[in-house]
């Protein structure tokens, strides 16, 4: 059953995404997607399309299969049935797979590596035994400055705060210049203030023209976070997860988290989720 898109009743703002002019290309297309672990069916017959440069949040009860869906999009899991297609920015479906950057709730840094070395890890792995070039190092410094960690490139993870560690993880995910950034509760373990700050930075990185970041899919437990960041919120019902509702958030960036419209959107999504559980 494919989900219906319906405009957010609480938001009176007009569609305002900077990329809204012209037809959009798809980044992820799922049709009749089913995913499971053995006999356990986790994602049940889900269809959706996520556009290039779109920011989509996945909301739903714990254990409903959001991480599973993300892992399938990352190519770490094979769907049971249905199709899941990714397209890169050049719109080539065929040979070159889109580059995917992944980030989890835990920073998953290697404690014996400095910040710079941690960010260079994906490149090192890609190169096999070859040495990292100075171009790669320059790129690593570039992404570290994006997440405002330039002065910490020689620090070890244990010398960094939780928020800084997550920034390193974000920099590492950005290192490969991904078309698609997949975030699984990326700031869920951080305190409220750090979390809001990092959310703003993430938005800035996503919106800035010189990071060629195209599409973001983020799992979150926070309704305000989903409304603050995304173009659309996918609301899932409990397992086996069906895509219960797709809520477009038509608020202009930068979004005012104190505004009436924002509060209305949040309460709309909250009521929606309640109605499914």
């Amino acid at each position: 059953m494919s989900a219906m898109s319906k405009p957010l009743s609480g938001a009176e703002c007009e569609a305002s995404s900077p990329q809204s002019a012209g037809p959009r290309q798809a980044a992820i297309t799922a049709s009749d997607l089913c995913i499971g672990y053995g006999d356990l069916s986790v994602i049940d017959n889900v269809s959706f399309r996520i556009d290039q440069r779109e920011f989509v949040s996945l909301l739903g009860p714990s254990g409903c299969g959001k991480s599973t869906l993300l892992r399938a999009i990352a190519g770490l899991l094979t769907p049971t049935s249905g199709s899941l297609q990714l397209q890169n920015s050049a719109n080539e479906v065929t040979d070159s797979k889109p580059r995917v950057g992944l980030m989890f709730q835990k920073p998953l840094l290697l404690p014996w590596r400095t910040t710079l070395e941690n960010v260079l890890l994906p490149v090192e792995i890609e190169l096999g035994g070859n040495r990292v070039s100075s171009i790669d190092e320059a790129r690593a410094r570039e992404v570290l400055s994006l997440v405002q960690l330039s002065s910490f490139e020689d620090a070890y993870p244990k010398q960094l705060s939780g928020g800084m560690q997550q920034r390193v993880a974000l920099a590492r995910a950005l290192m490969s210049d991904p078309d698609l950034l997949l975030l699984d509760e990326p700031f869920g373990a951080l305190d409220e203030l750090t979390r809001e700050m990092l959310n703003e930075e993430l938005l800035e990185i996503w919106r800035s023209a010189d990071t060629r970041l195209k599409t973001i899919v983020m799992v979150t437990h926070s309704i305000p976070e989903a409304v603050a960041l995304s173009d659309r919120v996918f609301v899932f019902a409990a397992r086996p997860a069906k895509l219960a509702e797709v809520v477009p958030v038509e608020l202009e960036h930068p979004r005012d988290l104190e505004s009436q419209a924002f509060a209305k959107s949040v309460s709309y999504v909250r009521r929606l989720i309640r109605s499914f559980s």
Binding site: V100, F104, L108, P111, P122, I125, E126, Y156
Partner: protein
């Protein structure tokens, strides 16, 4: 005022020796029961160092061979769960059999020379290193492996860049345990049948009631143990620089 941390135990040792010396002198303790520290020190000669060298050689050889074998066995076990299920009980059997019970057999098979002692030291070292290394090789969070496969890493790369470094703290804490055990193993081997080594000196001097020599051999064994333990601790701090907390 800052006092070097090694100074505290050293001054306690000095006080203990002094009290010991005075007690033996003024209470007229017979020398075959408890010789004075000065009498013990007087027995230290090149021959003692020769015996110390023999025991050190046996213990170290057993320690290195067993640690290397245990590490390789752990690698194999982690690769093949079938092998682990089949062979691991055997490793437990070796561990639970007291070394003193096996030592005579080792001497019977290998003679009174080096190899029976090296084997005894090795047998006692093997198990702690095996168990800890297996635990260490499984220590990395499964999320790390997901991350690595999202980078397109091969099994080999995940092994080298994840499993091995995450294993090192466990490996080193096992080395510290087995370094002390290795000396026990070598000395037990020497008890059963030897012509050299601290264990041999302990056996002979105790049967002759040469208690001063007995004590010097005991102290030599203790010093060897402490030295080896400290050395591994020093190495550990350099290799696992990112981890300060103990992972026992």
């Amino acid at each position: 005022m800052k006092v070097p941390s090694s100074l505290t135990p050293l001054s306690f040792l000095a006080v203990t020796l002094l009290v010991w010396e005075l007690a033996v002198r003024f209470l007229n303790v017979p020398a075959y029961l408890l010789p004075s520290p000065t009498a013990i020190i007087a027995t230290v000669d090149s021959e003692l160092f020769l015996h110390l060298a023999v025991t050190s050689g046996e213990a170290l050889a057993g320690f290195f061979i067993a640690s290397a074998c245990a590490f390789l066995a752990a690698l194999a076990f982690v690769r093949s769960p079938l092998l682990e299920r089949g062979v691991f009980p055997l490793a437990i059997a070796i561990k639970t059999t007291p070394l003193v019970a096996i030592a005579p057999l080792l001497v019977l098979w290998m003679g009174t020379g080096w190899w029976s002692k090296i084997t005894a030291a090795g047998l006692i070292c093997f198990f702690p290193v095996l168990v800890n290394t297996i635990k260490g090789l499984k220590a990395a969070d499964s999320k790390y492996f997901k991350l690595f496969s999202s980078f397109g890493a091969s099994q080999r790369q995940a092994f080298r860049k994840l499993r091995i470094p995450f294993c090192l703290p466990y490996f080193f804490s096992a080395l510290k345990i087995s370094s002390s055990l290795a000396i026990v193993g070598a000395i037990v081997g020497e008890f059963v049948g030897a012509t050299h080594g601290l264990g041999y000196v302990i056996m002979v001097s105790s049967s002759h009631l040469d208690t001063d020599i007995l004590f010097s051999a005991i102290f030599a064994a203790a010093a060897l143990g402490i030295l080896l333990f400290q050395f591994i601790g020093w190495l550990e701090q350099r290799v696992i620089f990112w981890q300060t907390a103990e992972t026992e």
